[in-house]
């Protein structure tokens, strides 16, 4: 992928190693990675023609779910930023790195990268087990774009960094997985990248080596290089990153301060107890099982709305296990970054559903002039005592297409000149 420069190279040289990290991340720093509207669809395997025979004798009705590993991800990363990439397993982190590294082609959207990228997507990717560590260093560095002369010059430094001098002439297949990563990381950091993409490979090293890698990352940071790394360690995000990206089922649900991101992650990953002693929804006697969006209560489901239209948010409750006298529901409408946009609740005292499966409708007669996609968080509490019973955040989204091109709200205003 040829990447047109995004911005004029601001400084011919990297800021000196002594330049402080905060200077490097000033808001004016040029963008080195820009992904605009990037989506990645994996076509279900059995839907692809995988043989020439099938290519010409086309099977009818081959079906299967296509899988969206990334949906409409927008990211801009400025020079010198250290960015953490987090999210549950399968949320699309590795896919995003591969798209940025130019290994996978996005299904739609644009990626532009400005600078030399080194990516470390897997421990010792490209190592050949049959060859010695020495041969592998040469081979791997050459794959990453170094010339023989450059490798000769860097070889000692690479071996020293990996602390594997005594093993360097052994076959790599006899290395431990930690030693594999050491060598792989040592090569990757020596190719002198402007941008370093690291998948969660560092976790394998022992503590001393991890510290060394983190020192190296800190040094990169101080040198004004850009780092994007995947990690499941919330501590690392808080301590090392200027910024965190959180992915969830292919959607970028948060992009911003590490402290906020980690809180969100703890919540999402279930390690942060739901406040006030509520139980997970599937263990709760009163189960919010679904939400649907439609114009009229009971009407056909609809996901896209215009401002001024009527919206009905219907919450389905499963009360077959237990039918309380009164149920109190609280619905938060969440925008980008889990920001609550508005709230709706059942009248004081709650509602009195019978047993079985019931629907609770919240009707918004006129949607305000909003723009964006919104999710729903449902909280159930005991109407008598006010104790929380359960909470469930649904993945279903509805969209409102306001007249404005950007921003959440449309506000009337006047612009004028005053002297």
């Amino acid at each position: 992928m040829s990447s047109p420069p995004l911005a004029p190279p601001a400084q011919p040289d990297r800021p000196a190693a002594s330049a402080s990290a905060s200077a490097a991340q000033s808001p004016g720093s040029p963008t080195v990675i820009r992904a605009a509207g990037v989506s990645k669809k994996f076509v279900a395997y059995h839907k692809r023609a995988t043989s020439l025979k099938e290519r010409f004798v086309r099977r009818e009705g081959a079906s299967g779910e296509d899988f969206w590993a990334l949906r409409d991800v927008d990211v801009q990363i400025g020079r010198g930023q250290t960015v953490g990439l987090a999210g549950a397993n399968g949320s699309g982190k590795s896919t995003l790195l591969k798209v940025l590294a130019g290994i996978l082609r996005p299904t739609s959207g644009e990626v532009a990268v400005n600078g030399r990228i080194a990516s470390l997507l897997e421990l010792g990717a490209g190592f050949n087990g049959e060859l010695s560590g020495r041969d592998n260093v040469y081979l791997n560095a050459s794959l990453l774009g170094l010339s023989k002369r450059e490798i000769d010059r860097l070889f000692d430094s690479i071996v020293d960094f990996s602390e594997l001098r005594h093993k360097i002439d052994d076959e790599v297949k006899h290395y431990s997985s930690g030693q594999y990563v050491r060598l792989g990381f040592a090569v990757a950091v020596h190719v002198d990248p402007d941008i370093l993409l690291v998948d969660e490979v560092l976790a394998v090293g022992d503590e001393a080596f991890q510290r060394k890698c983190l020192d190296k990352i800190a040094q990169f940071r101080a040198e004004g290089r850009t780092i994007l790394f995947v990690t499941h360690s919330l501590d690392l995000i808080e301590n090392m990153c200027d910024r965190v990206l959180v992915l969830e089922t292919g959607n970028l649900i948060y992009d911003g301060q590490p402290a906020v991101g980690t809180k969100l992650l703890r919540q999402r990953l279930g390690s942060l107890p739901v406040e006030g002693g509520a139980v997970p929804y599937d263990l709760s006697p009163v189960k919010p099982t679904a939400v649907t969006f439609s114009r009229d209560p009971g009407g056909a489901p609809q996901v896209q709305y215009d401002p001024g239209e009527q919206l009905t948010v219907s919450v389905e409750l499963d009360l077959t296990d237990y039918a309380p006298q009164h149920v109190y529901l609280h619905v938060d409408i969440l925008g980008q970054g889990e920001v609550p946009i508005w709230m709706m609740e059942t009248p004081p005292g709650g509602i009195s559903p019978g047993p079985g499966i019931v629907m609770v409708d919240f009707v918004v007669p006129r949607l305000p002039e909003l723009l964006g996609a919104f999710a729903v968080n449902v909280r159930v509490s005991d109407a008598a005592t006010g104790h929380p019973v359960t909470v469930r955040r649904f993945e279903d989204l509805f969209g409102v297409s306001g007249p404005q091109v950007a921003g959440l709200l449309r506000v009337d205003y006047q612009a004028g000149l005053r002297r």
Partner: protein
Amino acid sequence: MRWELLRNLVRKDLKVKYKGSTLGFAWSLANPLLLLVVYTFVFQVVLKTGIPRFGIYLMSGMLVWNAFSGSVSSACGAVVANANLVKKVRFPLLVLPLSAVGFAAVHFALQLLVLFVVILGLQYSLFGPELLLIVPAGAVALLFTVALSLLLSALNVRYRDTQHLLDVALVAWFWVNPMVYAYGLISDRLGDWTWVYLLNPMAVVVMTFQRAIYDPPPGNSTGSSSIIADTGYTFYLEHLGIAALISLAVLFLGLRVFRRFQADFAEDL
């Protein structure tokens, strides 16, 4: 093109294949000699082709054919075999099929040297000006091999039966080159249609190698038909020209397909 990377990959393949086994390497060079013994027995003693010094005739054509079929066959699987690399590292993917060709080319060059040594050892004449025909013939062989390798390696990622079809095709293809029989047998039979036979670039390459290395008996005849196609030069140069054009067309197609498919390699693997 990153030549240095290509060289390193070829070196890696050689190293992995012959790691700690000088014998293995010597064997791969001597391997054609075994073939020579077997084929000589079958075609000269049992089937009586009437080609004198059949072993040299056979080897002068077959070494280049073996290099071709070996490269194409391993290049076809080259991207798939390096799936882990393709999915994890960004590098110019063209080097994968090319390194398979390079690997075979190294063997070919060495085997050719062994053949020369054998010819000199048997005190046959070798160094006539016709030996220079090796240069254009080798160039066309390389061009055609690279072209087909690129095409097939890309196709094989998406359509995994390419490899099987290719292996079957190579077995059949072997027989439409005049390696174990005399060219005259074909031209006598086909007459005015011989040009169709000569559209196969490998047949032309094989024939040119024979002209370069094999020294036909006076009269260039098995008794009933001629052995090599022609005892001059222009015939070969003309047909090499046509073969080069065909190869260029395949190269154009191969590059296009490779470029089209390579963006999806990491996903298809």
